[in-house]
Symmetry: C2
Subunit: 515 residues, 2 copies
Amino acid sequence: MAENDREITDCLAEEENASRVYASTHSHLESLTPSDRDGNSTQSSHRLLAYSDALLSIIATVMILPVAHTKVQDDEELNESLQQLLTTKIAVYLMTFLIVTVAWTAHIRLFQVIEQIDDCLALLNLACMMLITFLPYTFSLMATFPEKTLGILLFCTCVIVIGMIQAMIVVYGFSRPFLLNEQIQLSDNRPFYKWHILRVISKVPALCLFAIVFSFIFTPVSYILLAIVIFLPYISQTARWCYGKATGRLEQPVDSVLFYSYHPNEPLSKDRVEAFSDGVYAIVATLLILDICEDNVPDPKEVQDRFGGNLVEALKGFGPEFLAYFGSFATVGLLWFVHHSLFLHVTRATRLMGLLNTFSLAFVGGLPLAYQLTHRFARSSRNELEAVQISCVIIFLAGLFQLAIWVAALFSQSSTLHPYARYGGREHAFMFAKLALYPCVTLGTYTLTCIHSRFSASIFHLMEVSVPLAFLLLRLAVRTARGLLGLLLSAVRGARRGGVPENQISRRPLGEEET
Amino acid sequence: MAENDREITDCLAEEENASRVYASTHSHLESLTPSDRDGNSTQSSHRLLAYSDALLSIIATVMILPVAHTKVQDDEELNESLQQLLTTKIAVYLMTFLIVTVAWTAHIRLFQVIEQIDDCLALLNLACMMLITFLPYTFSLMATFPEKTLGILLFCTCVIVIGMIQAMIVVYGFSRPFLLNEQIQLSDNRPFYKWHILRVISKVPALCLFAIVFSFIFTPVSYILLAIVIFLPYISQTARWCYGKATGRLEQPVDSVLFYSYHPNEPLSKDRVEAFSDGVYAIVATLLILDICEDNVPDPKEVQDRFGGNLVEALKGFGPEFLAYFGSFATVGLLWFVHHSLFLHVTRATRLMGLLNTFSLAFVGGLPLAYQLTHRFARSSRNELEAVQISCVIIFLAGLFQLAIWVAALFSQSSTLHPYARYGGREHAFMFAKLALYPCVTLGTYTLTCIHSRFSASIFHLMEVSVPLAFLLLRLAVRTARGLLGLLLSAVRGARRGGVPENQISRRPLGEEET
């Protein structure tokens, strides 16, 4: 070992720029660390936001657990009372997901105004997080006991306290202007901004206060108010758009900090959309292994008694669980991969793209459940067919919403996409192929299972295996297709126009040393 | 709403630098997105690594679930057969944590060599992650059935396949040099580096191959080999240190890429240590709410039958769980806060600091369990006292290892710490106070519970409430203490030396407008 190292040292003596690179890394690190302004130590908010994103993404997906752990017996028909229970639980999951993403969006906006933090803000933010993590529980209480006021009370109290903490963060931030966004910091209208932001923040708690009052008088009004809370950003956006259309006043893009930070149309921070999505993908990918690690280690005594000490025999019963795990991990991983590729081409995320991303993530959360169902029923039973088809629909929708993010980005491509990914750009066709792969494959699988319903599970397994391979070979396939298309087009045009070679397509690198 | 916006637009017309700031954000985003080299689209590996860190941190903590969900009856003595079961499970948890962190360290080293990725590497990395997530299960199988070879076989096969995938990543990376670390890319000795790195990677799979062979001959040898696998980095580090001491040859710090990336003493990437720690803190903070959301929503029928429809009454039974949740969330959050503050001052993490961080995180993982125990037993019972004391010990150790990270950083402070956090620096005393708070408080609580064992739970609750307050007031307290100390010192010296004012300490900002 030591000899080895000496050898390397000699080899590396000639590397001149080693220390130069280190120095640049070093200065990069330094830029992330606290600066000193007016004797107060301020810190970059980067890590605080990453931690908040991790917490929020876990909380957003937590309500899938009651769905996933619903006991489904093999002999029971999926279409009975169980179905109703599942529907309720799935509705709770989807609503929780929306609620948490609304809270997350508010959190993004808040920390687009306050860009530096100090210890006090970090602690206030942690308190805020604690209350947000409690929201799913209060909501599921509300859904289980819709006629009781306790659920509404708890939920609204949480929201009001969160609003109060956010207001405290704003007031604290404005009392220490060096913590603020540079533009607000340099502006003369700071008090105006402060009151404007506080007014925006107070809207949701005010609605919740009304909901509490009405919960004692007439509960349905409370629920309507809470629905408004969740959909307020989208309602107001639509209303403003309609108003704009009706009065003929087109919205002009205003490059100002308040439009950037407290406006329903504002773009979301791309970094935070990525961090939140990563969190959701990570927790969903590992949901099944959490169960497997906990439940699927057989009891030594039972193995001795029932299987005569044969461990392999005892583990065979868990086979479907392992298959489900690998299938769901691979699917979630590949959907993450598509998402990752997509956001490499995105320069900033609009509000609509954020919403579509939320929908896509919400379906991704349902995947482990779907995969578990496909392996739980007897071969070739009607339940199995249904489970396989439900899985196909979930993957299809998750993929479709990813595709929709891209379409939404294409609509305002000059501000949202890199030049080479725009329509007709170098990476355009390849990106489209990546995004279309899952929707196409699942649509095909669904159709096949309808025709050959007896082999539904086999078809599904075949899909599971073939998709990763398809991703590996995708670039090659797209290049071949584009090359062929280019040849075809040039042949057609050449025949029509009389021999002017079309080299716009063939000029692009087609098969250089890469698979 | 629209009127409001027009008002804001007017206000912001004077903001000149709005577009400038946007432009700088924009260029920052652009730097994160794919660059085009030789017609291949390479991507920054940043997000891939963040996702891997999220997956690995969840997997590292997953084995705490079987510990946390062990059924503990109130009437049972903690010191019986249950204790043995718990000990086994805790040992499995700690070993899994170590195994996953070893895999994580290997992953860091690999992607310190390969700095750019493309689609193929991203997919290979996902395959690698999938196998790593399976390691905890194989290990717990091994621990439950120590005399069977199946566990060893599965574990070793996983490790060998992971090693093969890593080797593929290295070979692929070296065949496309633009993906590599800049220094290796520019070096003349690339083939040598390649073989050296492959040799390092192949060590662990080779040991596992031997372990498989020996598992059929004589199992204990296999276990010894596996223990070597896990502790190899630490053993070789210690051996080299001893060898260096024995031969009197002091290790000189070599600023070379191979020492930076394939050497037991190499520093770890600070970003990745932070990302991994964030993941562990986030998943641990939410572990209890996962259970609460799933189990603690009462059944409507049961509420009607047993509590006469009184929901509040029905929820009262879950009170201890909620208290445990808030207690553990606050403690984990504050430990995260301390960790965050510490790493703001750290410029780079040595291997030793990484190891201490791992130990600290391993204890943090035990917190939810400890908190749940403190609320599960009858008031003033012997079990309750033990549970409270165990919680104190866990928090104490988690805090102590954080303190140890700082001490380790102080030993080589010129390369690991920012100037103002070094010994005698501006932030030194405050950082020390933050790190020492939890160990001191828990030590105090432990001592108090020994004396007043009847009030153990009350003392513990008092601690839970007082610690967040202590953090808020800590800066004030430290400044007051330093101010008093400064006054005292200057008075003493003034009396001794005859009136030369000591202004070294009082020159520092002591009470400016901050709490």
